[in-house]
Amino acid sequence: MRRILTLLLIVVGLALMVIGYLSSAPWGATSVADSNPAFVGAPSLFLIGVVTLLLSALVYELLPSRDDDRVE
């Protein structure tokens, strides 16, 4: 469960970063006046992606697993 959730967060985070990055660019713009991102708010997606990706580390460490019962 822990590994699946961690992998999921990594994949979702990376996907959001890529989508956010690419859709922040003003594709097809021909003038400076038309220089807004392809989707307004796309930079936020990139940001959420970075946060999601990094939170995977927290989930990986904090979520308990069955192995934790074996005290050394």
Binding site: Y21, S24, A25, P26, S35, N36, P37, V40, G41, P43, S44, F46, L47, V50, V51, L54, A57, L58, Y60, E61, L62, P64, S65, D67, D68, D69, R70, V71, E72
Partner: protein
């Protein structure tokens, strides 16, 4: 972690003990911080007119003043801490382990005040943040700078600090102290099993691997904010990115050395917790970074002196013998002085903490001067349009706000030292730690 609850109440490294000296320091920093906040509120109420800034060209001023200088400085200082901690972790450099937490704390503190300095520079910070989230483009260096610095590197550093401290937190949670709830919260159920240790090792390794390119990209784009501005003599150039990184490494290491020396003093540590070899390592690294930084400065100097074209000539004159000459030469002399002190110690193979601190202060001051010269003169004397040269001097409001930022950073570090061991313990073996009464 051992299962028996510690009957002792005295936490290691003076944690939880708020001495009179510490309270005085905190009161002083709070006072400076309050003055800074009041100055900012005054600025927010009256507008940017109360600062020394004005429009470039038409008003003969600068739109990026002391706040942006300090952004560059603080963000630069933040580089060394996290990179050093990551380096120590990946390559298992045990000698640097005692200062890894302090290094990351320096990164977190300087990044926080750096980001705050950016927000303070914006007349309307909220509007700036909202517009950045809605409209910032990946072609802009600000995308890399703010997205990666403000969120990526800061969050990674906080994660690093938190996860690396869980083991110590779990150990401290066994003490019967007033901070027990806090240490329990930090430990978040950590019980030091083999599986947990292995997971932690893996997480820290990958975080360390991730943070280095993140920092390099973030800080290079910080340099590119200036480097890609073709219409501003003195800024445009391919060296801005690497120059920013190198000076960031030097100033960051210098600050870390000063901070390490202060922590050693506060803990009354006679090279038990923080060994002499730590200073030897830091001194060597600072020597290398300073030598490269000086090389960049000399290259820049020769470029200015030799066949400077058109508008660059005006800027070169302002820097070398004009209104900025004293800052330029003072910065260069301080950097040279720092380097000489480091070389002498390296040659004798004896590193004195006192001399290291003197060299570090000289290098750090030189870094502030260099950041000032990067940001300001190109705006007052680096114009392609036929405007008269301008001038800029920060007002008391800017000095008070910047003082407040320094105080906030110092408070963050000072408070942390009193609620958590700044030198990592050895987990269950920390009974062997020297308990110092700070």
């Amino acid at each position: 972690m051992t299962s028996d609850t510690k009957s002792r109440t005295v936490l290691p490294q003076g944690v939880g003990k708020f001495s009179a000296k510490w309270l005085m320091f905190t009161a002083a920093m709070v006072a400076v911080l309050v003055i800074g906040i009041l100055a900012y509120l005054y600025e927010a109420n009256q507008g940017m007119i109360v600062t020394g800034m004005a429009n470039t060209g038409t008003q003969g001023g600068v739109t990026w003043g002391l706040y942006v200088v300090m952004v560059e400085y603080f963000i630069g200082v933040s580089l060394a801490g996290i990179v050093l901690a990551a380096f120590a972790y990946v390559f298992n450099v045990k000698v640097l382990r005692p200062i890894s937490r302090l290094a990351v704390l320096l990164t977190v503190g300087s990044l926080m005040v750096g980001v705050l300095a950016v927000l303070i520079d914006l007349g309307k910070p909220i509007r700036g943040i909202i517009n950045m989230l809605l409209y910032v483009r990946p072609q802009s260096p600000f995308f890399g700078t703010f997205m990666l610095v403000a969120v990526g590197v800061l969050l990674t550093s906080l994660l690093y600090l938190y996860l690396d401290g869980r083991r110590d937190a779990a150990y401290l949670a066994e003490f019967d102290s007033s901070l027990r709830w806090y240490h329990r919260l930090w430990a978040a159920g950590y019980s030091d099993t083999q599986a947990e240790r292995e997971r932690h090792r893996r997480t820290m390794f990958w975080l360390s691997i991730l943070v280095v390119p993140l920092v390099v990209i973030a800080l290079s784009t910080e340099g590119l904010v200036f480097g890609i501005q073709v219409g501003r003599p003195g800024w445009f150039g391919s060296l801005q990115g690497p120059d920013f990184l190198v000076l960031a490494a030097a100033s960051g290491l210098a600050n870390l050395i000063v901070l390490t020396a202060i922590v050693r003093r506060v803990l009354h540590d006679d090279y038990v917790l923080i060994g002499r070899s730590v200073f030897k390592w830091l001194g060597g690294l600072l020597l290398a970074a300073t030598a490269v930084a000086l090389y960049f400065q000399v290259v820049e100097l020769f470029t200015l002196l030799y066949a400077t074209p058109g508008n660059e000539r005006l800027l070169a004159d302002a820097l070398l013998r004009g209104p900025y000459a004293w800052i330029f030469w003072l910065g260069l002399v301080l950097l040279g002085l720092g380097l000489v002190l480091l070389v002498l110690q390296a040659a004798r193979r004896e590193w004195s903490v006192g001399l290291l601190v003197v060299a570090s202060v000289a290098i750090s001051t030189s870094a502030v001067a260099e950041r000032y010269l990067t940001v300001i003169p190109s705006q007052t004397h680096g114009m392609l349009l036929p405007y008269e040269p301008g001038s800029y001097f920060p007002t008391w409001v800017e000095f008070a706000v910047v003082g407040g930022l320094f105080a906030l950073g110092a408070l963050l570090i000072g408070l942390f030292i009193k609620v958590f061991p700044i030198v990592p313990l050895n987990g269950a073996d920390s009974d062997k730690e020297v308990l110092v009464d700070a």
